[in-house]
């Protein structure tokens, strides 16, 4: 019945929505930033543990749609062990993948985040996918206030 949506709602997304990874409060976090999308009410808190310039651990709390939950869940997995510079580069690639005019992002670097590429066909949903990354960006820039994608 929802055949048209198979590119957007891939099974991986349903899986992460049902069982989000790293879904917990991190008491010992070095960075804690809130992200909010006022359009749909998606709200998340991202926690990072940083050692030197390496992201040792990432977790999150909050509620959102399947796209935004899967996006932040996948993000916390993929940034673990990356340097801050590497994470910023991933953000750039992810941004390119979800909003870019042509598909010039680095597929290899993006890895399993590629399941979110489908949002580019759904402009109303791009912000759901990018909220996590904007929040990460703010956390890496050490902006402790809440950020908003609007």
């Amino acid at each position: 019945m929802f055949d048209d949506l198979r590119d957007l709602y891939q099974e991986v997304i349903f899986d992460h929505n049902r069982n989000p990874r790293n879904f917990r409060v991190m008491e010992s976090a070095d960075r804690k930033v809130e992200g909010f999308n006022p359009l749909c009410g998606d709200r998340l808190t991202l926690f990072l543990k940083i050692n030197g310039d390496v992201i040792e651990e990432a977790s999150f709390q909050g509620s959102g749609c399947a796209i935004s939950t899967a996006s932040v869940s996948l993000m916390t997995e993929i940034i673990k062990g990356k340097t801050e510079a590497e994470a910023e580069e991933l953000f750039k690639q992810f941004h390119e993948m979800t909003t870019g005019k042509d598909e010039h992002f680095n597929l290899e670097a993006i890895g399993k985040l590629a399941v979110l590429a489908g949002v580019r066909e759904y402009p109303a949903r791009v912000k759901c996918a990018t909220l996590a990354w904007h929040t990460l960006d703010a956390a890496l820039k050490n902006e402790q206030q809440s950020i908003s994608t609007e």
């Binding site: 929802f2 949506l5 349903f14 006022p38 009410g41 998606d42 509620s63 959102g64 399947a66």
Partner: protein
């Protein structure tokens, strides 16, 4: 319902023949804005093709024709809500501008530091923020009458808020987030007993029921044309003439003046005093055409048809496991707001869209209502006169299927 033929009505709305993602459009976002019958579209095309010029300005033929059409639309609005006089009908951009106008003119002139303005917990942002702005400017205080879990105003609590400091009650006639129809006649009587004027936000109510401002005895009534089958860009502020006369103007400019010198300006009479600048001429004339159309159908027929749709949709929705209706007031208009267990409204919206179904997913510009129900957002199906039970079946099948897909 004599003579109400939904199939015939559907023929009058060209957009309803549109295919969305290769499926017939099922348009259930009427509370956000509703579609236009051919006669409204034609009235605008005809205006620009044959009669258009600026209004109130010229002696030439087209200006006279335009002005006549424009002013006759004002009379149509007056008759539609049963105002006493054309002078009480002010054309504005929409409900939002109308409320801002009252806040910045009536409000500034009559509301001072320490005075109180009463709204309810189910207001649209457009009936919250203009009052907050006024309070910031004047030092007045905004008080909020609470609602119960059904989404109904708790009347005793509302009554308790009224006191000698209360200078205005501003309430929604029908809530866009919950569908609740407020007991506005009673609210007005209660407030008037204490000499407190009442503004009704009729943005949602006006397309669904007969509104008689004299019978209600409201002091102000506001609505938007685009939710009443008319064009965007035009709305109405109704005000009792004596109140409007006493209010200072809103914006300065052309049309709202009688005489201007650099030393002083004499303001124009009602309703022009509040209509500075070239108005939305086509919008106003299109709104007049929408009212003509509504009069051929009959507001009572529309209300009866929509009540049937709402009852049908509510019954079907209650049978879906994991669906919770947000807003279960006893007295309710054609709005079905709901949430699904573990499925975000935004996902519901995208999934239904792929089936050609347009609903609204979000906070409906009523964030305090969302906070009250502790949900980030809801999905909302809102019905209009052209909707059918068959469309509700499509919606409910869609919801059932997407619940399966989400697992």
């Amino acid at each position: 319902m004599t003579g109400f033929d939904v199939d015939k009505i559907r023929q009058d709305f060209p957009i309803l023949a549109e295919k969305i993602r290769n499926k017939p459009l099922v348009y259930l976002d009427n509370a956000a804005t509703c579609h236009k019958p051919q006669t409204v579209i034609d009235s605008i095309v005809h205006l620009y093709s044959h009669d258009y010029a600026n209004v109130h300005r010229g002696v030439h033929t087209l200006s006279v024709r335009s002005t006549d059409l424009f002013e006759s639309a004002r009379t149509k609005v007056k008759d539609f809500i049963n105002a006493r006089s054309d002078k009480e009908i002010i054309f504005v951009k929409g409900a939002t501008e109308a409320i801002n106008l009252v806040a910045q003119t009536y409000g500034k002139a009559n509301i001072q530091k320490g005075d109180e303005i009463i709204i309810t917990a189910m207001e649209h942002h457009s009936n919250i923020v203009p009052w907050q702005m006024l309070c910031e400017q004047t030092g007045a205080i905004l008080k909020v009458a609470p609602i119960n879990l059904q989404g109904e105003l708790i009347y005793e609590e509302f009554e308790k808020l009224l006191n000698a400091k209360t200078k205005l009650v501003s309430v929604v006639h029908m809530s866009n987030a919950l569908g609740t129809i407020n007991p506005v006649k009673q609210i007005i009587a209660t407030a008037h007993a204490k000499n407190i004027p009442v503004l009704l936000d009729g943005a949602q109510a006006i397309p669904h029921m007969t509104v008689d401002v004299q019978e209600l005895d409201c002091d102000f009534y506001v609505f938007s044309g685009h939710k009443l089958y008319g064009p965007t860009g035009v709305g109405v502020l109704y005000g009792k003439q004596a109140l409007l006369e006493a209010m200072p103007p809103y914006q300065g400019g052309g049309d709202m003046i009688r005489k201007v010198t650099f030393a002083e300006t004499e303001y124009n009479t009602l309703p022009y005093k509040f209509e500075a600048g070239t108005p939305d001429i086509a919008g106003v004339i299109g709104l007049g055409a929408a009212i003509d159309y509504l009069n051929t159908i009959g507001m009572d027929n529309i209300a009866a048809h929509e009540a049937e749709l709402l009852a049908y949709a509510t019954e079907k929705a209650l049978a879906i496991k994991g669906l919770r209706i947000i807003g279960e007031a006893e007295h309710k208009g054609a709005i079905l707001s709901f949430v699904l267990d573990k499925i975000h409204p935004h996902d519901i919206g995208t999934m239904l869209d792929s089936l050609g179904i347009a609903i609204r997913a979000g906070h409906h510009c009523a964030m305090p209502v969302m906070d009250f129900y502790e949900v980030p957002a809801t999905a909302r199906a809102s019905f209009a006169m052209y909707n059918t039970k068959a469309e509700i079946d499509v919606l409910m099948n869609g919801i059932t299927s997407l619940i399966e897909v989400f697992g």
